[in-house]
C-alpha cells in the first residue's frame, strides 16, 4: 500500500463516527472489498450526523456534571440533537451496510427489520424532544432523568443495529 493510498484511507476511516469518542481510525477493509467504487457520500454524512449528536450529548452531560447547568445551553444542544435525530432514517439507503464492504458499522438488520429500526429512531426523536422540554423547565432532576432516558434510546438502537466492537 503506498503512502498516498494510506493517507486517503485514513481520511475515510478517520471519519468513522459511531466510535467517534473512541477514536475512529479504523481498518483497511474498504481496500479489500468495496474500494473499487467510491464510498457513498451518505455514509460520511450520517457519520457526521451521529458525531455531532455525540458531541451535543457530551456537552449536555458536561453541563449537568458542572453542578451549575446552563439550561439554555442544554436546551439548544437538545434541540440540535432532536433535529438531527429526525434525519437519521433518511441516511440509510439500501446497499450501505457493513456487509457491502464499506467502512461503517451499520448492520444489515437495519434493512432486514425496517419497522423496528424506524421505531428505534422514533424513540430517540421522542426522547430528545422530551429533553428539550425538560431543559426549558429548568428542572435539573428532570433533565438528568431525561438525559439518561435518551441515552438509553441511543444504546437500544446501537445494541441491535450497530456492529458491536467492544
Amino acid at each position: 500500500m503506498n503512502r498516498f493510498h494510506t493517507v486517503r484511507l485514513s481520511a475515510i476511516t478517520a471519519s468513522l463516527v459511531l466510535l467517534a469518542a473512541c477514536g475512529g481510525e479504523a481498518g483497511t477493509e474498504p481496500e479489500e472489498t468495496a474500494a473499487a467504487e467510491a464510498e457513498p457520500a451518505v455514509i460520511e454524512e450520517r457519520q457526521e450526523n451521529y458525531e455531532a449528536i455525540g458531541d451535543a450529548f457530551k456537552a449536555i452531560r458536561g453541563q449537568m456534571e458542572s453542578g451549575e447547568p446552563d439550561f439554555a445551553e442544554i436546551e439548544a444542544q437538545a434541540t440540535d440533537i432532536n433535529a438531527r435525530a429526525q434525519r437519521i432514517t433518511g441516511y440509510f439507503p439500501s446497499g450501505t451496510s457493513v456487509d457491502a464492504g464499506y467502512d461503517t458499522e451499520a448492520l444489515m438488520t437495519i434493512w432486514e427489520e425496517p419497522a423496528e429500526f424506524e421505531t428505534a429512531a422514533q424513540n430517540f426523536v421522542d426522547a430528545s424532544a422530551a429533553l428539550v422540554t425538560a431543559a426549558a423547565s429548568g428542572d435539573a432532576a428532570a433533565v438528568g432523568e431525561q438525559a439518561k432516558e435518551m441515552g438509553g434510546t441511543c444504546k437500544a438502537c446501537h445494541d441491535k443495529f450497530r456492529l458491536d466492537t467492544d
Binding site: A21, E25, A26, G54, E65, E105, T165, D166
Partner: protein
C-alpha cells in the same frame, strides 16, 4: 584476549521486553481495527507487565534494578565521551538507562489515559472511565489518540539507537535481549538467574493491581 558468554539479562527482563513489543503492536492493531473488546483487555495486560517490570526493577537481579543503572548527567556525559567500560558495567549503559525510563514512562502515561478514556454511551470505555466526568474522559480520549505518536517516536528512537549500535559500533544488543547472554572477557562476572520466589512476588503484585483496575478499582468505584 579470550571471551566467553556471560549472562547479562535475566528471563523476567527479557520476557517483559518482548511482551512490550508484542503488546504495543497489538494495542495499535486493535485500535486501528476497532477491536475494542481486545484493546481494553490487552491494555490492562500491558498495565500488568509495566507494573511487573517496575517491581522487578526494585527486587530483580543486578542488571534489572533501576538503582543499579539509572545514572546522573555526569555519568551520561562520561559515557558519551567514551569513558565507560562495557565490561566493567554489564547491563544498561547510562544513556540506555534513559531509554528504559522514557519508554516505561510513555507506556505508563498512555495506558493510564486509556483507563479513563471512552464514553459509556458510545462504544468501549476504559475500566476507570466512571471516575471522571464526561468532558474529562473526552479530553483524555483525544490525548490518548495523540499521545500514541509520542510512544511511536520513542520506539523509533529506540530502534534507531539499536541500529547505531549494530551497524556503526558493531555491537549487537538485540541478541543478548533474546538469549540473555553476550560475549565478555574472562574477568567479567555475569548475573545470577532470577530468583523464582521474587518473580512470584512481582507477578502477584502486578496481576493483583491489573485485575483490581480491570474490575474498576473496587471499593472506590
Amino acid at each position: 584476549m579470550t571471551t566467553r558468554p556471560v549472562k547479562v539479562w535475566d528471563l523476567p527482563v527479557r520476557l517483559s521486553h518482548w511482551s512490550f513489543v508484542g503488546l504495543v503492536f497489538a494495542m495499535w492493531y486493535t485500535s486501528e481495527n476497532s477491536l475494542w473488546w481486545w484493546h481494553t483487555r490487552l491494555g490492562v495486560v500491558l498495565l500488568g507487565v509495566l507494573i511487573f517490570r517496575i517491581v522487578w526493577g526494585i527486587i530483580g537481579t543486578r542488571t534489572a534494578r533501576f538503582a543499579n543503572f539509572v545514572r546522573g548527567p555526569s555519568h551520561i556525559i562520561a559515557y558519551l565521551r567514551g569513558q565507560h567500560s562495557k565490561d566493567a558495567n554489564i547491563g544498561h549503559n547510562p544513556l540506555g538507562a534513559l531509554a528504559v525510563i522514557a519508554l516505561l514512562s510513555v507506556m505508563l502515561v498512555q495506558v493510564g489515559m486509556g483507563l479513563f478514556a471512552g464514553d459509556p454511551y458510545d462504544g468501549a470505555t476504559g475500566p476507570l472511565n466512571g471516575f471522571v466526568g464526561v468532558l474529562t474522559a473526552d479530553m483524555l480520549t483525544e490525548w490518548h489518540e495523540i499521545f500514541f505518536y509520542v510512544v511511536l517516536g520513542m520506539i523509533g528512537l529506540h530502534i534507531t539507537a539499536i541500529g547505531v549500535y549494530a551497524f556503526i559500533r558493531m555491537d549487537d544488543i538485540v541478541g543478548p535481549m533474546v538469549t540473555g547472554k553476550r560475549e565478555a572477557q574472562e574477568s567479567v562476572e555475569g548475573i545470577a538467574s532470577a530468583d523464582w520466589g521474587r518473580v512470584a512476588i512481582a507477578f502477584v503484585v502486578a496481576a493483583g493491581i491489573a485485575l483490581w483496575v480491570w474490575f474498576g478499582a473496587p471499593p472506590l468505584s
